[in-house]
Symmetry: C2
Subunit: 258 residues, 2 copies
DNA sequence: GTAGATAACG
DNA sequence: CGTTATCTAC
């Protein structure tokens, strides 16, 4: 069972790349972020034609998350992060797929920090931690996955010193990521590759990808015990090199049967 | 000697189509309109690579005219229509090419009429007639060519009754086109094809091209005597059917040696 | 419908 | 840099 997360940066602009990736890399369960399309403009038919079911939470211009599954039913649980009925941003979706509890998230970027956007990010994280704690208590296999917009540690960014004041790397944000792990969640990529330099995002500008000036901000957080079923994980770097590609690469992990 | 006029509707958006047309149809002298690009963004190198010299009069967003010539020198005469130093719109360019006096023009659309835009159109036409009269007096071979935004007669529009109040077809505008002809200028297309239905423009919307819901608004006006050298003229309809094409088709005429 | 400019967001 | 939306013009 191959599970992947991919910030597409515009599902319609990315459609050829997305479809090619689905066809060539065949992930079983996928969380997408930054659809940047209203619900009615999600290319459902094209996704269906390559064999995927899908549920999504889109909004007019920005954000937007989806869960795709290949020949598997997707049972939606909720499509909003609890804790703030006023929150209009479509950044969260939760479903049961193949007995797995999947939470797809697109955590706020938060820049510039400090400021209202950073405040929103911190509040969003607090709401998310609350939901994460509930899920831990359920004691069922669960994955929190998506674009966290959090660089967990110095080794997850090409030049840490340049990022100290950035909302993706500020100490209070990293601390929240640590606290999630203290709840019991396991950072799958780091669990399998404790020391390796692994990036999932490279800015479009200044040839960031060819210079490998990247960040690791797309993550899988596994509920306790699930790590025993994860033997392989990685980043589809090749996709980041395709024409008209996203600034993120797809990130994947393989889940073995118990 | 093949001479052509083509409203490209954005020279950069149209570059593949323009280059393909130049390579396949090999016009010797070309007037372009609606470059929609500032002078520094005219793709000079690409045009040069397919064998054309060029001069242009571009402006930031709209309008913009150019003269291209294949292996021929272009001697610029002026790049503004005389008569209003305040006029900022780049709609006129004049040059000597191969002994021919070429005036490339993009006459204002003028809609909605009545209104300031229509007033500007009428004033522009008056200035243009003045220059045209001067050119007639010079008694040298000269062609006024480009997008006139004038439908000369009922047979030049698919549904005349729908266009009576349009700035392209209003009686006072048609009258000005007639007056140009009274100065001595000869409408080359109509001279060769007195009765044929010939269109040069089809709206993008409502499948105007496939319904042949077109207009004839791109013209060649020949100085007296030049008509004897023109034996063939037409519209490159095929180009209007290409991918990412302009709403105008290229219009051409062939000039024989005396 | 299409193009270009601009603004917002990342 | 690059995506989407809005605006303007045609």
């Amino acid at each position: 069972m191959k599970i992947a997360t991919y910030n597409v940066n515009g599902i319609n602009a990315r459609l050829p790349v997305l479809l090619r990736w689905l066809k060539e890399f065949k992930p079983d369960i996928v969380c997408l972020q930054e659809l940047k399309a209203p619900p009615e403009k999600i290319p459902e038919d094209a996704i269906s034609e390559v064999g995927y079911n899908a549920i999504w939470h889109g909004q007019k211009r920005w954000n937007g998350v989806a869960i795709l599954a290949k020949n598997l039913e997707i049972e939606e649980i909720q499509r909003a992060l609890p804790g703030d009925p006023e929150d209009e941003q479509s950044r969260y979706i939760e479903a049961l797929v193949h007995g797995l509890h999947i939470c797809g998230l697109y955590l706020p970027n938060g820049n510039p920090a400090p400021g209202p956007k950073f405040d929103y990010k911190m509040l969003w994280i607090k709401r998310f931690k609350k939901r994460a704690k509930e899920l831990i208590k359920e004691n069922k296999p669960c994955i929190l996955m998506g674009d966290f917009n959090i660089i967990p540690a110095e080794k997850d960014v090409y030049k840490p010193e340049r990022w100290v004041d950035d909302a993706l790397f500020r100490p209070e944000v990293r601390k929240e990521f640590e606290e999630l792990q203290k709840q019991g969640w396991i950072d799958a990529i780091r669990f399998l590759h404790p020391e390796e330099t692994i990036y999932t995002f490279w800015d479009y500008f200044r040839n960031a990808f060819s210079r490998n000036a990247g960040l690791r901000i797309d993550h899988f957080l596994l509920s306790p015990g699930l790590e025993k079923q994860v033997k392989r994980a990685g980043v589809d770097l090749e996709v980041r090199g395709w024409e008209k590609t996203s600034d993120h690469a797809p990130v994947w992990m393989e889940l073995e049967k118990k």
